[in-house]
């Protein structure tokens, strides 16, 4: 029984965290442009002017 007092709040807390994260993701338009997000990783970061490039 005493274990439950710890485990149940932990389970609920973890569930709530997941739910909160999902809500956050929706509010921040994380699902708005799924194709674009997949392509954006391919964009190279802009080099500063005069930055030496490794050959």
């Amino acid at each position: 029984m005493s274990g439950l007092a710890v485990l149940i709040p932990i389970a609920l807390l973890m569930g709530l965290c997941g739910l909160g994260f999902f809500f956050w993701a929706m509010r921040n338009d994380q699902f708005e442009d799924l194709e674009g997000a997949a392509l954006r990783v391919l964009i190279e970061d802009e080099k500063e002017v005069g930055d030496d490039q490794e050959v």
Binding site: M1, L4, I8, A11, L12, G15, L16, G18, L19, F22, F23, M26, E32, D33, L34, E35, G36, L39, R40, V41, L42, I43, E44, D45, E46
Partner: protein, 709 residues
């Protein structure tokens, strides 16, 4: 992280404006960075963000930077952009998001309550069981209050108008089961149905989310097809400069500068210049008409050949287009009377289920088990019979079917459209732009010599006339390179002339005669006639045939002249009505509807808008006017008409699957209801029965995946 922000001036950020542009030619990651970085470098741009899925760019900028300039800037980066008006189809996107949040909450509650329920089922007793029931109640009540709202709201709405829909039995079931479970918990009873209630809400909401996502996806697809240019015009100020003005702000008496290729935003009278105007979207007429000084021109037509100045006589609500919009509103009102199949089923289902639960209660009371036991059994009946199949099976089938259609290039706007499409028993086709491609195609280019071809291409490229465009398009497709010509002169209504190797060459006035149009290519003394026809879409005949095999006889209804309609009607072997104005088209459809026909209208132009709205169900090609695409229930993107027949076939198969799902649901009830009536259903059995039946109907719906093959 992608260098999309350039804070030039933090003070101006406070008064920024947002503009959106459609950039359909974006293809790769390079395009994203090129546009975002290119725009960010522009002074006055605060932030630019590309949405690749919808092929749009959102720019926030200072008010001094106009939409025109931004469009030009995107053009300089190498992308053709269009200014986006506020998307008329995206209004109710928020609904799906709200439902998605409700599903997430219900899913969270379902998992946690199930965790506790499993331990109760596996034999927790005494204090542990009571504790778990209380914990379940603690989780379930806020979850039900939050996630159940869509059902409660819709049921309350239906009851207020003395009607019933399927949310009424759902809401009653949820409230009764929750109330009873609370009582059970408070009195340390053996059965609490919190898990069942929350699971029910989860499954039903999942069905709604699917329905909403399908609607959003199709609408997004269609709005990507819309030309979406914020309609407006270049207005000439008193000092001679021109300013881009939105259509809503144009007033009678203003002076518009209309470039060749532009659409007119208001009705008016030409005061300078002359040009050909394309009326086909407005009237269905396929031949351009010449207008010069003092002639009237109408909003919604396209200026083809030369720039003109127009004095506005009517703008906004007074223009000729607005009449069509009003006609469309009136014609579309009957649509709301269509009762979706799930609600129709609920009309019989709900009373039957409620009677059964009531009978169970009365029966067990008479049997003398006490009101508590009797109530417990009748709640079990309500939970077991709750219409999962109606709530989940119908949207699941429709979503899978519309996904299959989408892969074939047919965008169906919502589930109700599929239901109505399955019922159609007659099809009416518009001619210009629907049965035909809507633009002329040259038929005898092979007669031209190589020199003639390249000169013709050079001349055609310098003009905006639809015939020139058609000739240029087919010559470019044949890999012809344009010849070098100089001193090009275009005379409105006459043609283009120029010099080539100091020989006078011209592409002149299309002469009428026969079907379609023609133009004359002159090089020195040699003249060559190029004939063009507005080609019938490939396999149009086969489509008409397969539609009539499906039991949908076809007929033509066109605003074009009898001479233009007859050959098409003959080739397709169908009846035709010509010279039909928009109101005539609506009348024809209303007459057929009165006879009991369920008309499928296929059309594209502005003039078809009211007819598309009036028909039982309607489809528009992707090349249709924005009005046509918005009025239609479905849009197909291919050149072929075959998707029309395919859509009808898939819609019918979908309804067949929906009926199968109803059959499965009834079969499940025949098995489960006696158990519930006899008082043998515990929360465990209810949970198993509910999830199994839901999985079975969803599984059956998934068989539609390949339905469009």
């Amino acid at each position: 992280m992608n260098a999309s922000v350039a804070l030039d001036d933090l003070k101006t950020a406070e008064t920024s404006e947002d503009s959106r542009f459609a950039v359909p030619t974006m293809r790769c990651a390079g395009c994203i960075s090129k546009i975002e970085r290119g725009l960010a470098d522009l002074p006055g741009v605060i932030h630019a963000r590309v949405n690749f899925s919808t092929k749009q760019v959102a720019v926030s900028h200072t008010p001094e930077l106009t939409e025109d300039k931004l469009k030009g800037a995107i053009g300089l980066l190498g992308f053709e952009a269009q200014i986006l008006a506020d998307n008329p189809l995206s209004e109710d996107r928020g609904d799906t998001k709200r439902l998605l949040r409700a599903v997430a909450v219900a899913g969270f509650g379902m998992m946690n309550i199930m965790l506790l329920s499993v331990s109760v089922w596996s034999g927790a007793i005494g204090v542990t069981k009571d504790l778990f029931h209380w914990l379940s109640a603690l989780i379930a009540i806020p979850v039900i209050a939050y996630s159940g709202r869509p059902f409660f709201a819709s049921a309350a709405m239906a009851l207020r108008y003395m009607r019933t829909n399927m949310d009424v039995p759902i809401s009653i079931g949820i409230i009764l089961a929750t109330g009873l479970s609370l009582y059970e918990t408070a009195t340390s009873g053996p059965h609490a149905y919190f898990d069942g209630v929350v699971m029910l809400i989860f499954f039903l909401l999942a069905g709604r989310v699917l329905d909403g996502m399908m609607r959003d996806r199709a609408r997004e697809g269609i709005s990507a097809l819309l030309k979406q240019t914020a309609s407006g015009a270049m207005i000439i100020q008193s000092d001679g400069t021109t300013v881009w003005t939105k259509a809503g702000e144009i007033e009678a008496g203003m002076l518009m500068q209309v470039a060749a290729g532009d659409n007119l935003a208001a009705d008016g009278i030409i005061i300078e210049g002359r040009s050909g105007f394309d009326f086909s979207m407005l009237t269905g007429e396929s031949d351009p008409q010449n207008r010069s000084v003092d002639d009237e021109v109408l909003a919604g037509t396209t200026n083809l050949t030369a720039p003109v100045k127009v004095r506005v006589t009517a703008a906004g609500k007074d223009t000729s287009i607005s009449d069509i919009a009003r006609l469309m509103d009136e014609a579309g009102q009957h649509r709301s009377f269509h009762v979706r199949v799930a609600d129709r089923a609920a009309r019989y289902y709900a009373p039957a289920v409620h009677c059964l639960a009531l009978l169970a209660f009365v029966g067990w009371m008479l049997a003398g088990v006490g009101w508590h036991q009797a109530l417990l059994i009748s709640v079990a009946v309500l939970i077991i019979t709750c219409p999962c199949a109606l709530g989940l099976a119908v949207p699941a089938a429709q979503v899978v079917a519309s996904g299959a259609l989408m892969r074939k290039g047919v965008l169906v706007k919502d589930g109700s459209a599929l239901e109505r499409l399955a019922e159609a028993d007659r099809v009416i086709l518009d001619k210009t732009g629907t049965v035909t491609m809507g633009h002329p195609v040259p038929t005898n280019l092979s007669l031209l010599s190589d020199d003639q071809k390249s000169v013709a291409l050079a001349l055609a490229q310098s003009s905006n006339h639809p015939i020139s465009k058609a000739i240029a398009k087919s010559l470019i497709a044949k890999d012809i390179l344009p010849a070098k010509i100089d001193s090009v002169i275009e005379t409105a209504g006459e043609g283009v002339s120029a010099n080539w190797n100091s020989v006078g060459v011209s592409l002149t006035r299309p002469q009428k005669g026969g079907n379609g149009s023609a133009t004359q290519l002159t090089m020195g003394n040699i003249a060559q006639r190029i004939t063009l026809t507005d080609e019938i879409r490939p396999d149009a005949e086969a489509v008409v045939e397969s539609l009539s095999e499906l039991g949908l006889p076809a007929s033509l209804l066109s605003g074009d002249s009898m001479e233009a309609v007859t050959p098409v009607a003959l080739q397709l072997g169908v009846l035709a009505q010509a010279n039909a104005k928009p109101e005539d088209k609506v009348d024809t459809i209303k007459r057929l509807s009165k006879q009991g026909d369920k008309v499928l209208m296929v059309g594209d132009g502005l003039n078809d808008g009211p007819a598309l709205a009036a028909a039982h169900v309607s489809i528009a090609p992707g090349s249709a006017s924005d009005v046509g695409q918005q009025a239609a229930d479905a849009v197909f993107t291919s050149d072929s008409l075959m998707p029309v027949a395919l859509a009808v076939k898939v819609a019918r198969r979908t309804m067949q699957t929906v009926r199968q799902n109803f059959g499965l649901a009834i079969g499940y009830n025949i098995l489960a209801v006696p158990l519930a009536l006899s008082g043998m259903v515990t929360p465990l059995i209810a949970a198993i029965a509910m999830s199994t039946s839901s999985l079975i109907v969803v599984g059956n719906a998934l068989r539609l995946y390949g339905a469009a093959k």
